[in-house]
Symmetry: C2
Subunit: 434 residues, 2 copies
């Protein structure tokens, strides 16, 4: 895929390099797939846009339940283009190449310089990319005036969106240990403090069934909701039916779409993922687990700083554990954290994209954030210091990562027009303050 | 092993049968190993004792960490006889055969008739045995006046015991489900009711860190502690150091041995074993599990009836779940139950064994109960309607089921004398009221 992409870019006249990223950690006999970087245009009088995408895909086998061969693009009567990577992220990557080709065929000069960064390990945590972006920030990427990433999705199926924010994630482990080995609950039940008893007690103190985080001080770190922001949610093209459809159930906490979107985008949440070390198989086993490790994570939002969150979490859990008067031993630690990201939607990068949506689709785009994280977004922002825009091509029904992944022909064609139009508006926009 | 045992018994002059138990459920190409039943003596003027043991063992491989070949009996300088099955339960089974042989060699008539029931699936849940015992209760087992089982252990290492009680076990599943499939916690955290949040909440309401069962009404079912019973615990040969040694930690709930033994033998306990369906592997996964099944069990004691316990458990959990105002769905069910067992230690079966201990070891035995369950005990009691005695040969340090299982030569030789002496006192004891 890297070679194919490089040769396509070369055929279009771009300067292309395939940069090695070294060996795959833990699998030292394997080279990481190279990053394909390219420059198209080098006019000092034009803005330079850095575009990111990835050419790797999730695994797929027909027997997973695909209706068609996953690695043969199959278009049905409704114009749905089925195939692994169609929407995530080969379609959008090809979209950028189509933009260049279309300009060449129409005899129109591209109004900006393009820098491309297409990686091959996105679905495996972008192994090696963060270091690469950092080391090239003052070299290959130094001319970038803004960044555009097309690797997410519309909130629904009808209306394009521009994405300007992501939640961060702090992932924690709580370990509770007691006896030296697992015990028989018949023999020892009632005479020893049991780590699982303490564990469910501690985990039950973190969040209630309505999603309220019970750790004191956490909500005080959250940026207050302004009148201006509050007024944005009602206009977003989203319904409670959309939520019910994605859940496959009517287990929504909030009654309105506004409150649901806020819960997803701008408030923190705490999820308990599971417990390591306890009995987790089907059936029955009368064990007292000797050591159990509870896993939970907090989705973070502005202005939560990771260290502040950690301190509140650690202090609270230790204090709650002390109340139990258990002779077991508790340890709580951060497994990893990733910061939230919010860009300024008033930056020319966004206003250009917004005008392009209006031009191509005839509507104002929804300005959205996302509940999950896309770490490369923050990496580019931090390394280049420039505004980053998420400009999705596919829709919410594309089933990225799932069977029968598809991209609608309409989204592909209009989305490619959108990428092109965006570059034209980028060239015209005045410098913004933000 | 069945053939070996049958031929040994035949050589001693017993009438022996190897009874098939059909096919192994779920593995229909395999015959269950036969039950070896035998009669030795048929004198209507003698009492008849039914003895039970098993000739199968736990799996063992040298590479599990054994210091010696697990299937070669190896005796060290301290007289410890290492080998799989030495204490559980081949040693005690051979003990019965040695008793017959010793009487023959000494020219002394056995003072009772013996019925033997030696099975080969004990370590696999005694597959097929309960039905066999039931169907033979009025046939092969009909003459039994009492039952003696040598398949448990002394409480410590110095003092023999007679065991007259076992706790029962009610094993429960609590299932909580919400969304149709596992969800991404970034996208849906905060906007849907999460089954794991409800689960840890429900489980935290069952038992506190001091081992107190929080389900209202459970403790009201427990037989009150009488003065007489209360006075028994102080005399038992057991120390808090014994407990710490078996736990490998000092995480005892109770400060005294008396209260510890009561917690193990005569009070119920509730242990939380684990959660099926949640993330249980090492590392981090940001999943919202769609359906989780919590597993816990209650060790039951006199006079807790299973149906009463179930009703209290079901009603309480449903009421607590209702308080959560969650839109998830809860289901709670009993996976299996096994009743507690308490025999009368004043029955002649016990007084005979007690006198035998005094004769062989020079001490009064500890009268003990056990926290776990040995279902065959209750099966024999219910099928024959006769008193059942647990008369252990091995000590608490024998490491049954573990690596380096052993039986001390002293326990084997004195224990065999004990089995023989027991049969003589059985022949002499007057009929008891109990």
């Amino acid at each position: 895929m890297a070679h194919f992409l490089a040769s396509e870019l070369e055929a279009l006249g771009a300067e292309v390099e395939q940069r090695p990223l070294g060996k795959q950690p833990g699998k030292e006999h394997l080279d990481l797939p190279p990053v394909v970087i390219a420059r198209y245009g080098n006019d000092k009088n034009k803005r330079t846009i850095l575009v990111y995408g990835h050419y790797d895909v999730q695994p797929a086998l027909k027997e997973d339940g695909w209706a068609t061969e996953p690695f043969e693009l199959t278009v049905d009567a409704q114009g749905r283009m089925f195939g692994r990577g169609s929407t995530d992220d080969k379609g959008p990557v090809l979209g950028w190449l189509n933009v260049i080709e279309a300009h060449q065929k129409a005899g129109v000069e591209l109004p900006v310089n393009l820098l491309c960064c297409f990686e091959g390990m996105e679905e495996y945590g972008s192994e090696g990319l963060e270091e690469f972006i950092q080391s090239e920030s003052k070299k290959f990427f130094k001319d970038a005036d803004a960044v555009c990433i097309s690797d997410n999705y519309w909130l629904g199926t009808e209306k394009p969106c521009l994405t300007y924010g992501l939640r961060g994630c702090n992932y924690y482990s709580v370990s509770i240990s007691g006896p030296a080995q697992d015990l028989h609950s018949g023999v020892f039940g009632g005479s020893t403090h049991e780590p699982m008893t303490d564990m469910v007690n501690i985990l039950s103190k973190l969040v209630d069934s309505q999603g309220n985080i019970l750790i004191p001080g956490i909500m005080d770190l959250v940026a207050p909701l302004t009148e201006e922001e509050n007024s944005l949610y009602g206009k977003i093209s989203y319904t409670m039916d959309n939520l019910h459809e994605s859940l496959g159930s009517k287990t929504n906490i909030h009654a309105t779409k506004e409150r649901t979107l806020m819960a997803r985008w701008r408030y923190p949440s705490l999820s308990i993922h599971g417990i390591e070390g306890a009995f987790s198989a089907p059936g029955a086993k009368t064990v007292i687990p000797a050591k159990v490790i509870g896993k939970f994570s907090i989705r973070t939002v502005p202005n939560m700083e990771s260290e502040d969150v950690n301190k509140l979490v650690f202090d609270y859990i230790k204090a709650e554990f002390a109340k139990l008067n258990s002779k077991n031993t508790l340890d709580v630690s951060l497994q990893h954290d990733g910061k939230w990201w919010v860009a300024s939607p008033k930056h020319w990068n966004f206003t250009a994209a917004s005008k392009a949506v209006k031009q191509v689709f005839g509507v104002e785009p929804d300005m959205t954030r996302e509940g999950g994280s896309i770490p490369v977004t923050l990496n580019f922002e931090q390394a280049t210091g420039k505004n980053v825009l998420l400009l999705p091509m596919g829709s919410s029904t594309d089933a990225a990562h799932s069977v029968n992944e598809k991209l609608d022909k309409k989204n592909y064609i209009e989305g490619t027009k959108l990428l092109g139009a965006y570059l034209h508006y980028v060239a015209e926009e005045p410098v913004s303050e933000a």
